[in-house]
Symmetry: C2
Subunit: 451 residues, 2 copies
Amino acid sequence: MRFELTRDYLDALKGSVQQEDIKLIKELTQNLHPADIAEIFDELNVEEARYVYLHLNTDLASDLLVELEEDVRERFLSYLSGEEIAKSFIENMDSDDAADIIGELSEKKQDEVLSHIADIEQAGDIVDLLSYDEDTAGGLMAKELISVNENLNVTACLEEIRRQAEEVDEIFFVFVTDDDNMLSGTLTLKQMLLADGKTKVKNICDTDVISVKTDAESEEVAQVMEKYDLVALPVVDSIGRLKGRITIDDVVDVIKEEAEKDYQMISGISSDVEASDTVIQLTRARIPWLLIGLVGGIFGAMIIGVFEGALQTFPKIAFFIPLIAAMAGNVGIQSSSIVVQGLANNSLGFESTSQKLFKELSVALLNGVICSVLLFVFNLFYSDSYALTFTVSTALISVIIFASLFGTFVPLALNRMKIDPALATGPFITTTNDVIGMLIYFGIGKLFFGF
Amino acid sequence: MRFELTRDYLDALKGSVQQEDIKLIKELTQNLHPADIAEIFDELNVEEARYVYLHLNTDLASDLLVELEEDVRERFLSYLSGEEIAKSFIENMDSDDAADIIGELSEKKQDEVLSHIADIEQAGDIVDLLSYDEDTAGGLMAKELISVNENLNVTACLEEIRRQAEEVDEIFFVFVTDDDNMLSGTLTLKQMLLADGKTKVKNICDTDVISVKTDAESEEVAQVMEKYDLVALPVVDSIGRLKGRITIDDVVDVIKEEAEKDYQMISGISSDVEASDTVIQLTRARIPWLLIGLVGGIFGAMIIGVFEGALQTFPKIAFFIPLIAAMAGNVGIQSSSIVVQGLANNSLGFESTSQKLFKELSVALLNGVICSVLLFVFNLFYSDSYALTFTVSTALISVIIFASLFGTFVPLALNRMKIDPALATGPFITTTNDVIGMLIYFGIGKLFFGF
């Protein structure tokens, strides 16, 4: 059954650690999935976690390591020698997990661990995987897979699968290759079970196989697996030889991470933090964007400062400063987020940049007219100055149009320059739009008030 | 090989439709995956799409329907009778897809389609699935699965799987049940291949099986499958009888949708739109939040209006209005997004609300002190009024503290009231913080300037 981490459970476990009640610790952690233990470890301090760890069922150890958060794992591994890491963890791991974990170590420790892996083939696989960029198909894939030659018959194929299965944890697909190890198809359990034992594999397998190259970016891998609803995706080299496979659970992590990164970007958080991180980590992640906002605010102050005389004569113009600034920011974020999401989903369609800007202009005009007219009507009652009424509504529509076009253009331009377009969301675009909004507002005020 | 949709391809296809060149259409769409055709259809108008559709390879039809965007599919199905829908599409579909598509139809059309499904068992499965809420495990699951009795031996089990396999597209897991159809384990291909034919299933299967109940929410399903890296998840009723299975590709869609919804919420977009939607759809999705911003801005104007006299005497106080408003907004978004993401990931930990607010207070104090001191130093040079210098820095730190606490508290409170906490992100929190920021700023100005 599924485990749910509760306050009570955690108190009981922490208590048993304090009292060094090994029997109770074993009892509490019995039958837990490594992912559950990783969740628990997130809530323990290092001392407690180490103590629990020492009394865990040993066959959980290597799986646990994979499940731990990166910072928790780093602290753990720093206590161990290269030999211990190799023997107690790496040797029981799949090549992709092993490569990920070894990749996090210092270069010196990497060599130490690699030199202590007894199985040369496994060490070789890991070294191969370490050579790929982390964010590519090569960096995501595992070497463990079942592949059979297309010329085998089904009976021989089952025999071959049985032989290879001892090395591989789970079998979702059997990959079919030709004599040169070129990927030529995939075979499902269903196809094997329903075929006659003498049929050749190449006559029953799917030859229309979707694959990616080792250097494909992880976003592309995620898009392909999502689009075609794949559970496993074969990875081939530039001439089509089968090199590894990626399973969907690894891609789910990529999808989550991408989404979280974009979300943090738009909310002005510059690194991957969680609510449970320390005050210092949280502050460090938040201060960069606040400083950008501060600088933007200072520019805004300087712009308004130019109009000090006008403010003294017509103080009412100050009333709508927050409205203009807020609308500029809101519209800019809306526009940029639509572009960023479209780029992420590959759903921007085939319009050219100028067509997109023209469409955005139409949306901005419509939104701008609606908001400006409403504000105009409000001011007819609220404001006793026609100059103010006209200034505010004209500035609002201008600002909405500017912020929309700017918010659309900047991420498209960044994307063309191969810079992450999500940079253009959040505080950056809000701040720029705020400053330019002030310029527009006071510029238009100058026209109507004649200051 | 993988298909990539290009401008050229699209032009060629549109041209062939215009010239009614059926041979070319068939050639262009040959060997395409239904997901590719769905992508193409997104770029065609209804007339073009219908024409292409009529000349597609027929066995693509039912798969294509599943892949289409909801609005495109709706237009398609409106042309067809219930009988046509049943015969040409539904009968070849998995029960979960069939239920999803039938669920989108009007109740009258639903009955019509159901009455024309020849296979009573299939119709029954669909009716069962339609009874579950769309956003629960029951609504996500499919009925097609392979299950074997735990008392069979491996040879009989393989025979049974072979028999059931004709009904099921892909086999990732075999579910094991007892005589009462209670889920008792899972069996992998590997376990079967490596076991002796006479071994009983119950002796080799995994009995430590993770499952969800039919009424589990889809977010919970996604969390479970992600946490335990599952490819397929069995769904059971309240007493543990096996009812269906959910595969990871359906859950990837849930994860994507959740992430997109939160992203749109924080960027002030109130419904699911894409850059390729029409001007009207885009405007409709964006105007609600702009109106909220407008109302907030008007409140802001009224608050500042109270201080018209002070503005006339000390116009400099207006300089920093955008800075205070922007910082209030930025800090509020940062705080609320950290909480919202923590709630979505179940990673908030076990601190109580007051502990979380205290931590947020520490972060706010740190950020506030840094920003206020920097602004103070700037104003020592820039501003010739000590009252302004003190007002701005004191207001800034106060606003940062208020906005942080407010941004943390509101989503936690909404979550406790079972309202989507993401509502508290984006323009709502920015707008409220803007308005209250103005109150704080002018309130503190009153103290230092003595107006």
